[in-house]
């Protein structure tokens, strides 16, 4: 697995890890939502975006913030806060999004802030605590124990599953 070379400019200083961890470590793009650290496997991430002009989509599920133009491709923006049952954050100039590919379609996950790319050791992985909020447990693939905080791994396909569930 490559540890460098994602288009994110912050990737280079984020990829500091010991070479001996090479075999059993995974790279995650980190982000924060309401003070909580989340991670998405770096290979799933297509892009990191700053604030974008978003077109609202009437009648769409509330979690769908709208759609935006990413170099000629139409990307559906998802408000992750709403998906996690949190209050929507007032829009400001510092909105960040992570663009992921899900079954050939691009989705832009709107988060509070995007952090670095970190390499985490697989031995630090934990299953979801049984007491976790069901809504969170649904979209979390597990927890990593980092030195100073805990990182929730977002399961992108389950995160985007809400609409199919509603439509069905």
């Amino acid at each position: 697995m490559s540890t460098h070379g994602k288009p994110n400019g912050k990737a280079s200083n984020g990829a500091r890890h010991d070479d001996r961890d090479y075999e059993d470590s995974v790279d995650y793009v980190t982000m924060t939502i309401a003070g909580q650290l989340f991670g998405i496997p770096v290979l799933q991430v297509q892009d990191v975006l700053g604030p974008q002009r978003i077109t609202r989509i009437p009648l769409a599920p509330p979690e769908v913030a709208g759609s935006l133009n990413l170099r000629g491709r139409i990307v559906t923006a998802i408000d992750v806060r709403l998906r996690l049952g949190l209050e929507p954050k007032p829009r400001d100039d510092h909105d960040m999004s992570i663009v992921v590919d899900h079954r050939g379609e691009l989705y832009s996950l709107m988060v509070d802030g995007v952090g670095e790319v970190v390499a985490v050791a697989t031995k630090d992985f934990e299953r979801n605590p049984a007491t976790l909020d069901p809504l969170w447990r649904e979209v979390s693939a597990g927890i990593y124990r980092l030195n100073d905080q805990l990182m929730v791994v977002l399961d992108v396909s389950r995160l985007l599953n809400f609409a199919t569930r509603e439509a069905a």
């Binding site: 077109t55 609202r56 989509i57 759609s67 000629g72 139409i74 559906t76 609409a163 439509a167």
Partner: protein
Amino acid sequence: MDDLLSEFLTETAENLSVLDLELVKLEQTPNDPGLLSNIFRLVHTIKGTCGFLGLPRLETVAHAAENVLGKFRDGRLEVTPEAVTLILQSLDTIKAILAELEAKEEEPAGDDAALIANLNLLAEGEQPDLDTLPASPLGPQPAPQAQPAAMAADPAEARADDMAAAMAEMAAADAAFAAAPQTEPVVEPEPEPAPQPVPEPAPAAKAPAPKAEPAAPSEAVETKDSAVAAQTIRVNVELLENLMTMVSELVLTRNQVMQILRNQKESEFAAPLQRLNHVTSELQEGVMKTRMQPIGNAWAKLPRLIRDLSHDLGKKIDLEMLGADTELDRQVLELIKDPLTHMIRNSADHGVEMPADRAAAGKTETGHVRLNAYHEGGHIIIQIADDGRGLNIEKIKAKALATGVAGEAELAAMTEQQVQQLIFKAGFSTAANVTSVSGRGVGMDVVRTNIEKIGGTIELKSVEGRGSTFTIKIPLTLAIVNALIVECGGERFAIPQISVVELVRAGGQSEHTVEKIHGTPVLRLRDRLLPLVSLRKLLKLDTAGGSESEQFIIVTQVGTYSFGIIVDRVFDTEEIVVKPVAPIMRHIEMFSGNTILGDGSVIMILDPNGIASSTGEISFAEEASHAAETKHKAHHEERMALLIFKAAGGAPKAVPLALVARLEEVEQKSIEISNGQMMVQYRGKLMPLVPFDPGSAIDRDGDGRKPVLVFTDRDRSMGLVVDEIVDIVEEYMQVELSGDGPGLLGSAIIDGKATDVIDAGYYLTQAYRDWFTSKGEAMVEEEHHERVLLVDDSPFFRNMLAPMLSVAGYTVTPVQSVDEAMALCDAGQDFDIIISDIEMPGMNGFDFAEKVKKNGCRWHHTPMVALSSHATPRDLDRGRRAGFNDYVAKFDRDTLLASLSETLSETRGTA
């Protein structure tokens, strides 16, 4: 060259080159089942296509090879180098034949018996005799360049020749090389696979081959590579789609840059940008072309279809195809393929008559179906015309009634054109009998839905006896459409230009205003009320923003349903590239897609079809699913337009609107008395007037006017004087109580109010005593539920008898001709009794009765009562002979009712 043939050559050349490689691999790994089944499939495909195209020689060779491969695959035969050699030989034979085929467009003559015999021997597990193979697969006329080799042939070399006739030049130079046929498969001029197979198979061949020069095979292959195959390459459609997306993006970026340039007066970028502009446009055009295919591709199967059809149906049909090279987007092509096939089938099956019928109608025995495609203003027009019998208006009406697609009142109000359009409704099929060819429930409605789905329209013109023409108009491409950009609730939306009929500005300075009925907005547009849909409400947009005082209405048409969409603002039109919405939003039917505008923002594209179906207008799908229900309803409760008026106090009165010829206002002064009867001069004649309320005095000296309902039957008119005309409503006529006074049929709940339904017949007798001999007394009270079919050409009597009979407890189905009645018969409807008029245009009552009473008719046992104004004993007699159970004078209501119950109890007794 025939398209089909050239496609076959390209495809087969590809398959063969794959096969060559695969076979060589097979020799190295003889037991790879995946490889074996792939090879088998490829040969099978070649065999199949040859059979389809009628190339027997190719087919037999491929078949024999397939046999052997089948044994390989099933493990019943061991893969030996000899066997592979033989297979390769047959492939070479195929190639040689193909080369001839390409040059001459016909299969060369020749005999492959030896090869086939060997293959068969192999298939049976015996050792084939490789030496007996003929020198050249092309038989007596070998390809010219093969000749030197053939002449120099000794047995070993001869064998080599037949494997590589086209490689003859090389074979002559190095005959020994030819003994290693396995090198030949390398079609791609890549050198790597070539040297590999050489060492292995060589020892297996009887004459060991010296080393072949690696360059030689590829050179040889190049000379024999199919010219057709070389001109075209196959590209994955996905790649083209991606290219298209990229070009669209480039176009949008170009637009943006050009916009910036316009704002700068002088720029050194001007010239290069101009160039960029041109190149981009050309590139866009070029890429668009890669998606284009001639429409003939969709037609390829039609001649065969017509041939089979004419054979099956015993008709003579000529199919003429014009403009087969008209190109359109392959996506559109795929979508219209099936509708086109269906329509051609329809034309041949329903349109074109039997040769005898055609001759009788003075036409040539051979019917013509013409298919014509051409470009017109950014659209493709496809016409399907036949010179057959055309659409039969009466049949369609009967069918529409029978299937519940339209009610009688609706039908009466329709023009011929509108009636013809009914065939596009769900659940409609004009052929009275379902044949194997067409009429399987998926009819023209599906065709229409499919065409509208891609933004197209379909029109129909038909002249009875002369033929029908369908005109389909579809956009050239789905990729780029013209769209109108509108704003509502602060959001912008695009509406495909093709669905926009007109734009109306309402409010503000405009002459148009949006009016409301119980909160439902409507617009008066050229003397018609147009239903409106508020986009803001529909999409649940913010109510803030946008002024109520000025609005824009986009008049849209979906099928025959027109409606207006209210928006806040209208911008320009723009060319947009339609992209599908993300899967998580596909269930929102208001949008057909989304796109990126020139300014880079994303915009949703509204779908007028979705809006129409979500705002009340029944969608096609819904209609289909409720068809059964509607059908049921239509036959038990006929919707009827009723005129509501007030007279003589009390409850409002109602009379079937169809009975009323006109509504007039008569000046009281102009009323004259003649022979004790009030009269008024009306249209140059004297028309008797009857006051609804005999007690109410008409003040002939007073000013003022009185509303009059004018009833007309044939040439006689009378006026019924009432107090006030209230409304016209359309209701299910369900008369609930039998009326107790003269002139009343009963009461019904109409528009939520108890309303007296008047018996127009009673008042007619007041005007003309000879019009009826009705006493207007109490009718048979007993509750029947017998179903009555009423056949009468006079709408007046149908409308009079239908309510009267339904009051008497019968369920009445009125039709206006024998044809319609027979259509119901064919549709499988059953009735307990048939009442038929005698004098009718077309088939009269006697003929009808004879037809019904004939053995084999569905209604064979249904009793019939004749109804006629001529009730002489002679008529009676003739009626009985024709099969009528009873014969009643037309205006004798009591006798009719008595006769009905009598006849019914009689038949019940005998049954």
